[in-house]
Symmetry: C2
Subunit: 328 residues, 2 copies
């Protein structure tokens, strides 16, 4: 029996599954972030190896039983040498050759075995792909917090804090986001002003926020969903809906049908975003079947099977899902 190793290496966690060539999952493991850009190659490789060994241990099968390894990870990492991860895996007995797949294609393939359709993810970042014949045919956004990721958790969180700051600074409308943001960072919402005439709370807030890495502003995104009656928060979410619908339209092709697989907490866990994005698509004549994918591990298994020459149909896809569910 030849086994396969499928790895979904994300920025904050890594998932690995060892499966046989019929799609039966035999062992599952997880570890910390496995993206070489955000974690650095050494830590990323260590996480990927830890998840792979946990999967192999759980299956009770040695690394040498694996014939094919596919790692799904963010686009930027797909090109270039894979030595950083193939060497540590080979040193523990896994195959010396590693294939890399797009993390967005893994999300797509976590939601469907079909070979045409769309995937859109909005978590900390935001990106989408159009998939044709099992391959990425078009990509939109996913260009990072400074230059893109429009409609993402970072984008919403950045809007939340800048709206609160503008309000405290007298430049923006009054908003419920002010007390929510101040409370979130542990600053009193007091009115005293310092020698420069600024509210002391504003000075303290700006100081605290510049101590964060910019991407960490995504942690303020949930406040926009809390301030349900606030006009400023509503405008931020309206813009996020437009941005995410725009992301779909940027990659959509009128003649390409197939499911739309959604991932990331902003798109899947926030009905105020999810339902309105889908409604906007329908208003423009796009009526894809919508599915959710919590992560890309099922899709990584699909891509690994295909890499090994196995055709993945509805039966195989269902087998991956049900057998993996029993292991997680």
């Amino acid at each position: 029996m030849i086994n396969l190793l499928a790895i979904d290496a994300g920025g904050t966690s890594t998932r690995a599954v060892l499966l046989d060539s019929t799609g039966h999952c035999l062992g599952y493991g997880s570890a910390a972030g496995g993206n070489p850009i955000s974690s650095g190659p050494d830590r990323a490789a260590a996480s990927i190896l830890a998840a792979a060994e946990a999967a192999s241990d759980a299956a009770g099968l040695p690394p040498t039983s694996v014939s094919t390894t596919v790692i799904a990870m963010a686009g930027m990492s797909v090109s270039g040498s894979r030595e950083w991860v193939s060497s540590p895996l080979a040193a523990r007995g896994f195959p010396a050759t590693v294939d890399v797949a797009s993390d967005l294609l893994a999300i797509f393939s976590s939601g469907t075995w079909q070979r045409d359709g769309y995937a859109m993810v909005a978590g900390t970042g935001a990106a989408g792909i159009r998939v044709h014949d099992g391959r990425v045919e078009r990509t939109a956004d996913g260009l990072g917090w400074l230059l893109g990721d429009v409609g993402s958790g970072y984008w919403i969180g950045h809007r939340v804090v800048t709206a609160a700051i503008a309000s405290l600074d007298g430049r923006g409308e009054e908003t419920e986001l002010v007390p929510l943001v101040l409370h979130a960072v542990g600053i009193d919402n007091a009115r005293e002003r310092g020698v420069d005439g600024r509210p002391l709370s504003l000075r303290d807030l700006v100081e605290k926020l510049y101590q964060l890495r910019p991407i960490e502003l995504s942690r303020f995104a949930p406040l926009a969903f809390q301030a349900t009656t606030d006009a400023v928060a509503r405008a931020i979410l309206d813009d996020a809906v437009s941005a995410l619908a725009g992301l779909f339209f940027a990659m959509a092709a009128a003649d390409l049908t197939g499911p739309l697989v959604l991932g990331g907490s902003v798109l899947t866990a926030q009905p105020v975003i999810h339902d309105r994005v889908i409604a906007t698509l329908r208003a423009e004549g796009f009526t894809p079947e919508v599915r959710h994918a919590p992560d890309g591990v099922v899709g990584a298994a699909v891509l690994t099977l295909r890499q090994a020459g196995v055709e993945v149909d509805s039966d195989v896809f269902d087998r991956i899902g049900t057998s993996l569910a029993r292991l997680r």
Copy 2:
């Protein structure tokens, strides 16, 4: 005769003037950036010392002839210990005590000897102050590229590159900013797409831009002024005008009259911004006399004289200006 040392320590350059207590400027010197936050305290102190010694050399007067030193610099640096700069100055014979003043108050005082009014600066950053009785009574924005500086060169430049990126990515309108931005970074405006379906020019552009420090995106601001017939560029400048007028309204008080002193290239060198901001103020009933200040060195001299107990009236102010002009 007791002499005074006035220093205008900016992020990219530092100016120093040695003057007598009648406002007669005797020596001028300049050096590299003197802001301890952007340059680090050691390099900032070295620049300040170099400018001070150049001014003292040019005047042919020893550092020991100086009785009062005032350094104007950005707000964040005003608080805290001044050891980093007072010790190196004292070691060369300048007074051991250094007073620090707001860089915005120095800009204000470069434009007028009056003690009430407003100053607004929009260069790489953007900030404004309301001045009453010679002191800063209210401050607006100046909160940095990530959280504020709305309408600044950074803000315009960031909008310029994200508009070009969105257009290349199929999410934004077509815009003349695409060829302008690509040309500015030396990338061919070709249409080929890579394996992920993205234009290769987009991938190269994003890669180049992430190699910059975010604040360096301000270098793309001039492209918005070049693309005079482009709707996307016009919308960016419209928003900048609104933002800068909003900055004024945030700090303005209906009963406080006095001149409005403008600084920074966005506000003073771009009529399309300057004239429309002033028109917006007038439409709301604010009709300040508008003056421009190229930097804060005259104002630093004004503040130093006041620190030494000298009253600065119209005659003294004019004397500073004319005597300094002969030295620069």
